[in-house]
C-alpha cells in the first residue's frame, strides 16, 4: 500500500514537461477507428453514436484544457469571450491538431452562436461514412473536446457538429456568458 501511495504523489509532482511528444498519425487514426467501431456496437442510432463520441471527447477535453493552459498561457486564464475563441481557433487547434482551424465566424442573427469551420478535421481524415449512416460525423469527438474546454474555462456552451463547408462546429453559449462579457467590455 505504501508503494502505491508514493506513486500517487510522484505523478502529480512531476513537471508537465515542455514536450510536444509526437506520435505517428497511423497509430492515432487506428485507435480512433477502433473507438468508433466499439461505440457503434453499443448503440442503435447515428445521433447516439455521435453522443457517445462527444462524451469521449469531453473526457479528453477537460484534461487537455489544464495541460494546454498551464503550458501556453502561463497560469493566466482567458476572461473575455472573443479572446478565448481566438485562442481556441489558433493556438489550441495548432497544438492539438497540428494546424489552425480554418475559420471562426459569428452567426449573423444570434450573438450567442459562433462557428468554427474546418474543411477536413484530423479525426475524419481516414474515415469514410457508409451511405446508411448518412449524417454521421465523427468529428463529434472533436466537438466534445471543444465543449469540455469551453465549459472548463467557465464559458458554458453546447457544441454540435454539422456537415457544412466541410465540418462546422456550432458553439452555442449560455445567456450568462454573453451578458457577463458585455459587462466586462463596458468597464
Amino acid at each position: 500500500m505504501s508503494g502505491i501511495g508514493k506513486q500517487k504523489a510522484s505523478t502529480l509532482e512531476k513537471s508537465l514537461g515542455k514536450g510536444k511528444p509526437e506520435v505517428n498519425i497511423a497509430t492515432f487514426a487506428l485507435l480512433f477507428s477502433e473507438i468508433v467501431q466499439y461505440c457503434q456496437n453499443r448503440v442503435h442510432t447515428v445521433p447516439e453514436l455521435q453522443k457517445k463520441l462527444s462524451e469521449l471527447g469531453q473526457s479528453v477535453g477537460c484534461h487537455m484544457l489544464d495541460v494546454i493552459f498551464l503550458r501556453e498561457k502561463g497560469y493566466k486564464r482567458e476572461v473575455k469571450l472573443l479572446n478565448m475563441l481566438i485562442f481556441i481557433k489558433s493556438s489550441f487547434w495548432k497544438i492539438v491538431f497540428g494546424k489552425e482551424a480554418d475559420k471562426l465566424e459569428q452567426a449573423n442573427d444570434d450573438d450567442r452562436t459562433y462557428y468554427i469551420i474546418e474543411k477536413e478535421p484530423l479525426v475524419n481524415k481516414f474515415i469514410s461514412v457508409p451511405r446508411d449512416k448518412g449524417s454521421l460525423n465523427c468529428a463529434a469527438f472533436t466537438a466534445g473536446i471543444l465543449e469540455a474546454v469551453l465549459n472548463g474555462a467557465n464559458f458554458p456552451a453546447k457544441v454540435t457538429v454539422h456537415w457544412h463547408k466541410g465540418t462546422t462546429f456550432m458553439i452555442k453559449f449560455d445567456e450568462s456568458v454573453i451578458a457577463r462579457d458585455k459587462m466586462v467590455d463596458s468597464r
Binding site: 508503494g3 502505491i4 506513486q7 500517487k8 505523478t11 514536450g19 510536444k20 511528444p21 509526437e22 506520435v23 505517428n24 498519425i25 497511423a26 497509430t27 492515432f28 487506428l30 485507435l31 480512433f32 477502433e34 473507438i35 467501431q37 466499439y38 453499443r42 462524451e55 469521449l56 471527447g57 473526457s59 479528453v60 484534461h63 487537455m64 495541460v67 497544438i95 492539438v96 491538431f97 497540428g98 494546424k99 484530423l122
Partner: protein, 180 residues
C-alpha cells in the same frame, strides 16, 4: 531544428498528448461498460489486435526492412524500427531465454500512460494491453504466432514496464480448397 516555431508539422505526426488522453478516455469508458478488469483486458487486447493487423501493412510499406531471418532480428526490428515509428520510443530488448524463442521489451516510459494512475481496486487491469494485442496481431500477419504479455508494469508499482514475447509457432498460409 532552430526554426521549429514555423514548422508546419510533419503531416504524419499527431500530438502525443491527444493520443494519450484519447486512449485514457477509451479505457475509462471500457471500465464503466464492463464489470471486471479481466473483461476490459480482453477488450483492449482485441482492439489492439485489430489495430496491429492493419498497422503491419503500414509498417511494411514505409520501413524498408527486408524479411527477418530469425526471431532475434524480429526483436530488433520491433524495438528499434516499429516502436520508434509508431510510438516514438525505443524499448530495450533483453532477457533472452536459452532457447532463443522468448525475449522481453523493457520500456522506461510509455506514451499510453503519460498522466495515468491506477486507482485502488483495479490492480488486475493491464492498462496498456492494447500494445500486447497490437504486437500479436501484427506478428500474426507475418506468419508468426507469438504470445505477448505484461510481466512488469510501472503503473502497478514496478520500476519498469516489461513485455514478454514468446514465439509459439510459424503459421502457414491456408491454401483455399481446390488450389495447389
Amino acid at each position: 531544428m532552430s526554426r521549429q516555431g514555423n514548422r508546419a508539422g510533419d503531416p504524419r505526426k499527431v500530438n502525443g498528448e491527444l493520443f494519450t488522453l484519447t486512449y485514457g478516455a477509451l479505457v475509462a469508458q471500457l471500465i464503466k461498460d464492463y464489470e471486471n478488469d479481466e473483461q476490459v483486458n480482453k477488450q483492449l487486447d482485441k482492439m489492439g489486435y485489430n489495430m496491429g493487423v492493419r498497422l503491419i501493412e503500414d509498417f511494411l510499406a514505409r520501413a524498408n526492412t527486408g524479411r527477418c531471418n530469425d526471431f532475434r532480428e524480429t526483436a530488433d526490428v520491433i524495438a528499434k524500427v516499429a516502436f520508434k515509428m509508431y510510438l516514438g520510443l525505443t524499448p530495450v530488448v533483453s532477457n533472452w531465454s536459452t532457447t532463443g524463442d522468448e525475449f522481453s521489451l523493457l520500456l522506461e516510459s510509455n506514451p499510453l500512460t503519460e498522466f495515468v494512475e491506477l486507482p485502488p481496486g483495479h490492480s488486475n487491469l493491464n492498462y496498456s494491453n492494447l500494445l500486447c494485442g497490437a504486437l500479436r496481431g501484427a506478428l500474426e500477419m507475418v506468419q508468426m504466432d507469438v504470445d505477448v504479455r505484461f510481466v512488469q508494469d510501472i503503473l502497478k508499482g514496478d520500476n519498469i514496464t516489461e513485455i514478454r514475447l514468446k514465439f509459439i509457432k510459424r503459421l502457414e498460409d491456408a491454401v483455399p480448397v481446390g488450389e495447389d
